[in-house]
Amino acid sequence: MEQKIEKSTRVEPSTPIKKRRKISKDQMVAVGFISPSIILILIFVYGFIGWTGWVSVSNWNTLVPDFSFAGLKNYIYLFNDYRFQADLRNTVFFTILFIGLVIIMGLGLSILIDQKLKGESIFRNIFLFPMALSFVVTGVVWQWLLNPSTGFNQFLSVFGIQPKWYTDTNIIGGFEWGSIEFGLPVAIIAVVIAAVWQMTGFSLAMYLAGLRGIPEELREAARMDGGSEFQIYRRIVLPMLMPITVSVVIIMAHISLKIFDLIYAMTGSGANFVTDVPGVYMFETTFRGNYYANGSAIAIIMLLLVAVFIVPYLITNRRGDK
């Protein structure tokens, strides 16, 4: 990397002829300025990922490090593991519900707030404040709100319903898949509610910024042409918000795939692992059970899942920037 930088030349927009001139002293200072950070990232991000990858194919499943090569043994173990299969199922449903609701709530609320009503900043602040909280705080509070014997259930008892929330072990629409029942774990809904409460503010802020960026004349013109408000939103506003929706989906997906603290603080793994996720499993198996190789394998799988979303996003986003 260093090598490459030194060989390169600065592109002077005003004097393209001098493109191949000698690197200026300032240019070298600039590279020197940024090198420590680049080196840190190369070691702490890429180097450590490689190191984790190496641990994941080793036999280090006790307190004592053992770097002997184990092949894909740990991965095979995980994919046959009841708990990990449950984690993958939970992640799928958590991600879908979480992203869907964050988008719908954020979009709906931002459209309402963007109507030039009085007090819009109060509403905006109310929907945004959970973003300033820790997932741990959210988890601690919501574990009481969605506790089956208190919280919201005291209101719901009026209607004669008492959901078991995160203690429910039912799987909706379940069918046999590996060693687990694949379907929507009811308990995950409780965690989704807490996560949506916390993260709606993010999509709201994004959509609001997007809506503010749509010129009023555009909507005005559509109104002149006799378009109804609903049509204007469907035909003009929503398509223009599409890039924002893509960003929100990607950002939320990566949060959802690596989620740990909210679930650890709110419910833990749950009975039959109905609220377990890879993040919690990785933490417990590595730091409570000393299965370092298994933990590393989980971490690498999490990284690959996130990379599926992030890498294409980063590449297209960066290309569009230039």
């Binding site: 200072v29 600039a30 990232i41 404040f129 741990v136 999490m302 980063l314």
Partner: protein
Amino acid sequence: MRKKNISNLFKYFILIVMAIIFLTPVYVIIVTSLKPLDEVSLSQMWALPTSIDFSSYVHAVKELAPNFMNSVYLVIPATLLSAILGAMNGYVLSKWKFKGSEILFTVLLFGMFIPYQSILIPLIQFLRTIGLYNTIAGLILTHVVYGLPITTLMFRNFYANIPDSMIESAKIDGANFLGIFRRIIIPLSISGFVVVAIWQFTNIWNEFLFAVTITNSDSQPVMVALQNLSGSQIVQWNVQMAGALVAALPTLLVYMILGKYFVRGLLAGSVKG
């Protein structure tokens, strides 16, 4: 006009209902944490306290105070250092681009999205080797390093708005790389620093995974202590609620006072590298 009023009324109705739902947890936290111990029962969760009692706060503060201070010692240096490094990187990547600097930036940005589980085991081994495991300094180092992508991104986008012509004319006047940074860029960066600092402060204060794995007992930040408080069977939940509020207070205050900058950070960190 009447039709418009009705539709506005309807919009208000939805917004108010949603606002009430969003504020319910706040109501429960406040009401529960102010109840005397004998009024704290699962069946009386929603009832207002008959008298205001601060004993849950006294208890929670006693439990959390040392960890709260750990978080303070962690968050201040970590925020400052990562903001300074971010400003330096952002300056280079926006105003002194070189061949490959765009690719380097993308390489840097990827670090923002990785699940930290995928670097955690080597990180802990590394911190043990250099003697920083189970120390606040170790956590500071961790947060500074893994904060680099986001702070660099924010400053780079911020500096992109400073016209290149300003830099060029300073160069003609004989200013060098560092001179331009000191005399032009830094004075123009105040609001950029506020946005980045608030963002880092909030994230580091709220972070849990590094905190719970890199430190134990005495050097743990407040979020780990809060989680321990809520996990222990003997602690009443009014104390948990008071603890949650105490732990959340610094970031909530920052949000209330400087919310505008918080939102700018939120938007800056999410799109367009």
